[in-house]
Structures are given as C-alpha cells and as structure tokens.
Subunit: 319 residues, 2 copies
Amino acid sequence: MANTSSRTLRLLSLLQTHRYWPGEELATRLGVSVRTLRRDVDRLRELGYPVEANRGVDGGYQLAAGAALPPLVVDDDEAVAIAVGMQAATQGAIPGIEESAIRALTKVVQVMPPRLRRQVDALRAVTVPSGFGQYAGPPPLEPEVLIVVAQACRDSERIEFGYTGHGAAATERHVEPHRLVPLGRRWYLVAYDLTRHDWRTFRMDRLTSPRRTGARFAPRKLPGEDAAAFVRAGLKERQAGYAVEVVVHATAEVVRARLERWATIEEIDAGSCLVRMNTDSLDWPAMALGSIGAEFEVRSPPELITMLAEWSARFGRAV
Amino acid sequence: MANTSSRTLRLLSLLQTHRYWPGEELATRLGVSVRTLRRDVDRLRELGYPVEANRGVDGGYQLAAGAALPPLVVDDDEAVAIAVGMQAATQGAIPGIEESAIRALTKVVQVMPPRLRRQVDALRAVTVPSGFGQYAGPPPLEPEVLIVVAQACRDSERIEFGYTGHGAAATERHVEPHRLVPLGRRWYLVAYDLTRHDWRTFRMDRLTSPRRTGARFAPRKLPGEDAAAFVRAGLKERQAGYAVEVVVHATAEVVRARLERWATIEEIDAGSCLVRMNTDSLDWPAMALGSIGAEFEVRSPPELITMLAEWSARFGRAV
DNA sequence: GCCCTCCGGTCAGTTTCTGTCCTAAATTTG
DNA sequence: CAAATTTAGGACAGAAACTGACCGGAGGGC
C-alpha cells in the first residue's frame, strides 16, 4: 500500500475527481512530503499525462487534456452508469459507436465486482431501450449474450450455444468466434463452426445461452477480406424494412424542424415537401406524421396506407 | 519509460485489452524477465486487482472481477463511445443514472485530447436523442453547457452565464455553483447568486454560454438539508406532463408484452385492461395505442381525445 | 509419466526512492 | 513595488526497492 506505483495511481485518481488541488493537500493525502509529490507529478508528466500547475497564491495542480488518455479512475456509480450506457449504445441507441461500445462494455464488465453487476442488471430492467419503436423493430438482445460472445471473440475462446436458424429447428453449435459485426440494427457473429467445418454467420438475436468452454484457439484466417463484408455477402434475406415516401403539405422548414434527424426532406414547392425514411417498423412514421399536424399523402409503402386506415378507424371509434 | 510504476500500469492495460496472456509474452512486451513479471503480478494483486493464473499447457494470466475497480484503460474509440453514451444518459435516456453519468462524463471529457472531443461533437450531431418524443418534450440541453457547469461545481469555481427566467428578460449572472440536480426530465443548478446574495435555483435549459471565471471559492453551506429538496421546494411551476389513462380491449398479457417498460398495466377482466402512463408528449401514447392493434377508450386526458380525433380525421383523408 | 507453465525462495548488485536541505521563478496581494 | 505564497528543481545521503539469475516445486493436460 505504501508503494510508489500505488501512490501514483492514487494521485491520478485524485486529479481526476477534483480538478484543482494545492500541492500541500495532495502531499498530505498521499502521506508524503511535498518534494516527493512534485516528483510524483513529474512521473505522471513523463508518462504523458499533462499535469498543469499554477504558482502563486491559490496555486495548485490540475489534470489537463493531453495527447494520450490516462487510465480512467471511476467510482462504483460511474462504472454502473458506463456499463448501462454502453449496453444501451450496443443496442443501436447511438448509431456508429456500437462496436466501440461493446469493447468498452466488456472491459468494464470484466473487472466489475459482482455487486455492481447486480446493480447493472437491476437498472437494465427499468431502462427505456434505445429509441422508441424499438420494441416493434428487431427483437431486443440480451446484453449478457452480447458480452459473453464479445469476450470470447476478444480472448479467442471457443463457445457453445443454441441456435435457431431461419425457420429451422434449434441446433446446438460449437464454434470459434471471430468477430462481432453490427449491421443495420442487428448484431452478427462471424465464427468458424467446428461441427460444419466452415465459416458461418449467426444472428445474435437467434442465439441462446452461450457458454464459454475455456478452450482457447489460434485464430484462423477468414477467407474473405473483412468480417463485415462476409456478413453482408452471406445475408440472403434482405433487410425487410420499409422505404417510406410521403408528401406532406407543410413547408419544408416546418417538417425539417421535426424530422430532420430521422428522415430526408425534399422541398416540392412552397407548401409541400417529400419525406423519405427507411425503417423496420411502420409505427413511428405514423407517429411522426401524426405529430407534424399537417395533411399528407402516402406514396409508399402500401402497408403504411393500410395501417393508417386501420388506425384512423380505431382512433375514431375510441373517441 | 523504464519505470516500474509505468510498467505496472502497462501490465494492467494489457490485461484489460486481451483477457488471456501467457507469462512469457507479457514479459517480452514489458521488456523484463519472467521473474520480474511475476513480481509485477504480485504487486497488482497486493493493490487489490485479482489477477488469476492458469498453469500447465496453454496457461496464462487473466484479470478477474474483484472487490475494487481498477483504473479503466480505454482506447480512443472507447473513450468517444463512453462520452457520447454518457451524454445521452445525462439527457435522461436511462432514468436514475443521470448524476453518475455526468460525473463520468466530466472525468472523461477532462482528460480527452481535443481530436477526440471533436469526434464526440461530430457524433452528437447525428445522435438520436434519448427516447422518441423527446423533441416534443423538454428542450434539448447542450451537453457542453452541462459539462462546463458540472466541472465548475466539482472544482468550486465561480461561473458567469446568461439566464432567461420564467417570462423574464435575459439577465447576466455571477454565481458560486453548488450542485446539479436532475429532477423529472430536467436539470437544475443550485448556486449562490453573488449579485442577489442568496441561494437560487436555475433551470439548465434556460442558461446560456456559461463561462468559468477561474476564481475558486470556499463552498458555503446550503441552508436546507439537501440540494434536491431545495430544488423541489423552489419549484412553483408544477411539471406540465400528462397523466394518461386508457382502457384497452385486449388481454393484459398482450398489452404488457408491448408496453411493459413504459406504462403500468392493470387487468380489468379477461378481455381488457387499464393502461396508465405519465408523459410530456402525447405523441407516443398515440403511437403506442396504434401499434397495439386493439380497440381502446381514452379516460384521460381530454387533450389526448382531441388529438386522436384529429389524427384519425387526418389519417383518413391521407389514404 | 512427461511436458509445459506458473510459483516463490534466495542472493548480490544496482537502481530508485525519499526526506531534508537549498535557491529560483512565477503570481497574487497589499 | 515589496511581501507572501506556491510551484520548480538541484544536491545529498541513507533506506528501500527493484532486477536478473538461479533454483527446486507444484499443478494441469496429454
């Protein structure tokens, strides 16, 4: 405990939790002389962490932004927040960061004491998943499943799991996991199937109770170039999804203010514009159209027309 | 660079990025003998980080979950993911973790190199905010504002900002920030106003361009017990919000499957149930009711009835 | 039973660390 | 402008540690 490296770590932690510290206080907290504290600060600086110092009255030390990221010293609550947030992110709440999020998530979860994992589980139960419309979109994925598989990928460890293929019966698989690929709003696992002796793509939401076997393997080379390309190539079933096209009788400006983030909007004339969006679920285009508060006509898909007619009738009966 | 503590940190980092390492490889990477590596591992264990070791063929070291959280060694992408995720979390995407999220966020942002901050900003632009219906709910809050104020709270640093009170003119404030309180779906700042010489509560979404003055202060004691209580007491304007109550003619089971997470469902009889939810925006109850696909009657609020009638008419004309 | 890997003791030489001086430099305050 | 405060950093000596080399042991997998 009286170690130098431990102290350096504690110093880093102090600098992260409270930005500004006078030298004397830091020295007292760490139980060393001020001179040694200065040396510790020097050490941190040599390691690339930019500790800034102010002289004079009310001087002190603070950690600035540097070229490299220092290790994050987080407390329990913060770790839970990160874990829960990263779980949400892997579910597509924030497009584009799914992969980084799953890596961060495995790191946090790996070192998390059990009591914190329980907190995370408890919080997950009350969490609003990603966007709305999610529940009608892809089936929600157990974060637990994702984490186990991600860890196995990272550590080159064989896993077994149950898999229910497209309309097929449930089978038991034994594979060497290679990469996890987020595509569209789904996760896919690229793995070498040890029973079929070939590379396969598995949809993560069809995969149940993965178990780590503890057996490690030397990673094979994937035949294609890229795991993502491999998944795309193997995707026979096209993304279902709907391409929605609607003419809204309102100025493009008004429509943009509401839908800019979720749809592309083209102005037709001063009083109307064309709204396009791609979506798995028709529920939220309906909601979007309702909430704009303007007249509109649906160009496609026909399913949306049917659905709106049905909603209209039902809403009419309800009020 | 050849330091012991630096090496210990690097070892910790290695153990976090790739779970399983043979001792020899670790030793080579760290540039020390195997014996010294073993001593380093011992050091980590003494610091409370449980490094497990496997003997025999294919043996190696791995980091397990322990009692304490080790410093998280994250790479650039992961840091960006954490920052973006925590920003979303502070906006109420995941109820209950706002405060921890803002603390984690300030920690990450504080040490983040500028190039990564730019990435975070770029990602924020394309981010779908928290839940849908958000855009009709509370005005979105600039994460930048939240971060600046949170840092100032943490570091006991005076700030200045513009504030547009409830129906009042814009004023310039100079305060000693005390605490940030998430309440409902909004953030409030409890601070000592240096012009008015009294404690005040500020709604964060009405606060513009906060500037850190660099002047630190000795924290005063808040008169009441709790910052959260102080905010609640000062809240004259009640949360607008709607309490939605709807009878749905479907089995409770079916409705639960769809709405369990966002609403409370009470069974009335075998064929109908009562759905309650609280929301700022009526759009998404409408969408939820539409997507269930069952008949229903609205009990309250009257605004929902009006809105549904209007939607019904408009949908009818559209198809 | 054999091989591979981690485990930990001992020892000597070297390095580093620490506290106590000291002076210098920067910055705020009066 | 001077005083006070606070970081910066050199010198030094003693204590503490770290390191590599060597060793026999122990546990796991084939």
